[in-house]
């Protein structure tokens, strides 16, 4: 009898543990821990599918936490030398052709970056999803052959760009493999599909992704990570306006 009671207790506690593990907010916290790092240095390419042509933009970024980022464009020749600095919610760009540093105004933040499907605003968003959204789970799904939890995120606060999101989270790697961004009216605005991931320094990171503004025609923008380094020490001078003119 005692044995039965212990077995029942173990079963109940394991069930509650499982329930805890699969709660949407918990998953989101784990995703946040898995995807964010103190610093990162990323070399990437962005393949922009335009109406008439396809452009590939190569850039190197230095990121500190989620608030600061410094990006230098390396190719094509037309964009080479263009730099961007994000400090909290402010963004500056430097163009070598005009030798000027311009602060991107609020109105301009809606414009796309280099003609891609990403807006400056998308780039500047706080990526700590648990700060912004509460999550509930939906029936599980599979993305690229990987079992995923599906989370429906709804905004915790009012001043947020996307009122709701749907994310597909890899059950093993805790990495987002697909994301849908919705308007307040529940109309789908943007999609992000992670097509390839890689393991670097014992953590999973995005290798290739496709961003798509659903309201716009086209194939979207491919984002490919060529190399990534986590938690390197980055000097403070990188995240200053002076570094834009260097």
């Amino acid at each position: 009898m005692r044995l039965r009671f212990y077995s029942f207790c173990i079963a109940v506690s394991s069930l509650s543990l499982q329930a805890q593990i699969v709660s949407g907010d918990d998953i989101l916290e784990k995703v946040d821990r898995a995807m964010n790092s103190k610093t990162r240095i990323v070399m990437s390419t962005m393949v922009i599918h335009g109406r008439r042509d396809i452009r590939t933009v190569q850039a190197q970024s230095w990121q500190r936490g989620t608030s600061d980022a410094y990006t230098e464009y390396l190719a094509p020749a037309r964009e080479k030398g263009t730099k961007m600095l994000k400090l909290n919610d402010m963004l500056w760009t430097y163009s070598p052709s005009t030798d000027r540093t311009i602060m991107i105004s609020q109105h301009m933040l809606r414009q796309s970056v280099m003609g891609s499907d990403l807006s400056y605003e998308d780039m500047m968003e706080d990526p700590h999803l648990p700060n912004l959204y509460s999550a509930v789970t939906s029936p599980d799904d599979t993305v690229n052959g990987r079992a995923c939890w599906v989370l429906d995120l709804s905004a915790k606060k009012e001043d947020i760009a996307y009122y709701s999101r749907k994310v597909w989270v890899d059950k093993v790697r805790y990495i987002i493999l697909r994301e849908h961004l919705f308007a307040k009216s529940a109309k789908l605005l943007k999609t992000v599909d992670i097509t390839e991931v890689m393991n670097v320094q014992n953590r999973w990171a995005v290798k290739s992704a496709v961003y798509k503004d659903v309201l716009k025609e086209g194939k979207g923008t491919e984002f490919n990570v060529l190399s990534i380094k986590f938690d390197d020490v980055l000097p403070d001078h990188i995240f200053t306006k002076a570094s834009l003119r260097r």
Partner: protein, 390 residues
């Protein structure tokens, strides 16, 4: 009377020389009146159209609103002032809410202004009554230019994306229920009009507006804290500056024309005095004083102006009335100037313009005719009879 008869006979007797001068002067006459009429017509036409379709009897702007700064529309909204509510209820004023938005015609990104207006309003000459139809989709209205640029037609559905007052993206489909034609680009280019109550709901700005347009008959303009009243003088200052600038440009053209005509008259007078030395001597010998002689020659010169006015009236009245009736066609590119010129300009000739121009030309002709006659003042009758100038 004798002087008049003599002057008239002399000038008619001069034949072709007189008629050439008269033709040149009458051309200057008609051109001046035509150009001035065109500028007056342009001013009146644009002013009328803009007041009817956009300015009304003046506008209250939210203190943060600046039409030249697209960023300002984000924050330029406030509760409709209490003091103006009774007026709005009596249809003596109409609130407009403006927000930035984005549409994707043909899959392309396009920034627009989303404007909310009361479909029952009668203050502005915009056919907004079509917005009163309520189906499941949001009714929307655009101008012909916007329709042309976006390829939209009536009953088309288009997704509009905007931000709520909290900055959250929202997007819905709107149905184009009306496409209106207007000469006023400021209510057409890159703009979508929807009912204000729907606009206030979807943008989460209940009971708010960006501007309040007053009826033309409103005489009392109360001071409203947080709102700046812009009267028609303020709103039309760009138009008046443009017309003034155009008028200045035109005045250079007709000054040149007038100068050419005056040069011809001056030349005729100088030649006339040179050729008619013996005649002058005879007239002086017959008892005409030098002053009378100067008067005679000046009168002859002035007759050019009078004849030019008559000849100008002969062909100018039918020509200018035809243009005033049928208008003067403008090239397509004029539409991009940013003013409500329309397809044609209908010149406006006021009595003041015609009388003023006639007096101006007559005075200048008289002065120009007088200048060469100063030589007569020192003329000796004996020398003149011999054909000499002293």
């Amino acid at each position: 009377m004798l002087m008049l008869k003599l002057a008239y006979r002399n000038i008619i007797g001069a034949g072709m020389r007189t008629w050439l001068n008269v033709a040149a002067l009458s051309f200057a006459f008609v051109t001046i009146i035509f150009l001035k009429g065109v500028y007056n017509g342009m001013n009146d036409q644009v002013e009328r159209a803009t007041i009817d379709a956009l300015y009304g009897g003046g506008q209250y702007w939210h203190e943060r609103y600046d039409p030249y700064d697209p960023q300002s529309t984000v924050d330029a909204h406030g509760n409709i002032p209490e003091v103006l509510r009774p007026l709005i209820k009596q249809k003596g004023a109409v609130p407009i809410l403006i927000r930035q938005g984005t549409i994707y015609p043909g899959g392309r990104f396009r920034n627009i202004l989303l404007k909310g207006i009361d479909p029952q309003q009668k203050i502005l000459a915009i056919p907004v009554s079509a917005l009163a139809e309520r189906n499941r989709t949001i009714p929307a209205m655009i101008g012909t230019r916007m329709a042309k640029h976006t390829g939209l037609h009536i009953n088309d559905l288009i997704t509009v994306q905007w931000r709520t007052s909290h900055g959250t993206f929202d997007a819905r489909e709107v149905m184009i229920v009306n496409i209106f034609k207007t000469t006023v680009q400021e209510i057409d280019n890159d703009q979508i009009w929807i009912p204000i109550d729907i606009m206030q709901t979807i943008t989460e700005l209940p009971d708010q507006a960006t501007m309040i347009i007053m009826n033309k008959e409103n005489i009392t303009i109360p001071t409203v804290p947080g709102w700046n009243f812009r009267d028609l003088n303020f709103l039309l200052q760009d138009l008046h500056s443009l017309v003034e600038m155009k008028s200045m440009g035109g005045s250079i053209f007709y000054t040149i024309l007038l100068l050419l005509a005056m040069l011809a008259i001056f030349d005729t007078q100088v030649l006339s005095i040179w050729h008619r030395r013996k005649e002058m001597g005879t007239l002086m010998a017959l008892g005409m004083t030098r002053t009378q002689l100067i008067g005679l020659f000046t009168l002859e010169g002035s007759f050019h102006g009078i004849l030019a006015a008559l000849v100008g009236a002969l062909y100018g009245i039918p020509l200018l009335s035809y243009v005033a009736r049928n208008g003067w066609g403008l090239p397509q590119s004029t539409d991009d100037f940013g003013f409500a010129f329309g397809d044609r300009i209908f010149p406006s000739y006021s009595l003041g313009l015609i009388v003023g121009t006639t007096i101006l030309v007559l005075v200048i002709t008289t002065i120009v005719s007088f200048l060469p006659t100063k030589k007569i003042a020192s003329l000796k009758p004996t020398d003149a009879l011999k054909g000499k100038m002293t």
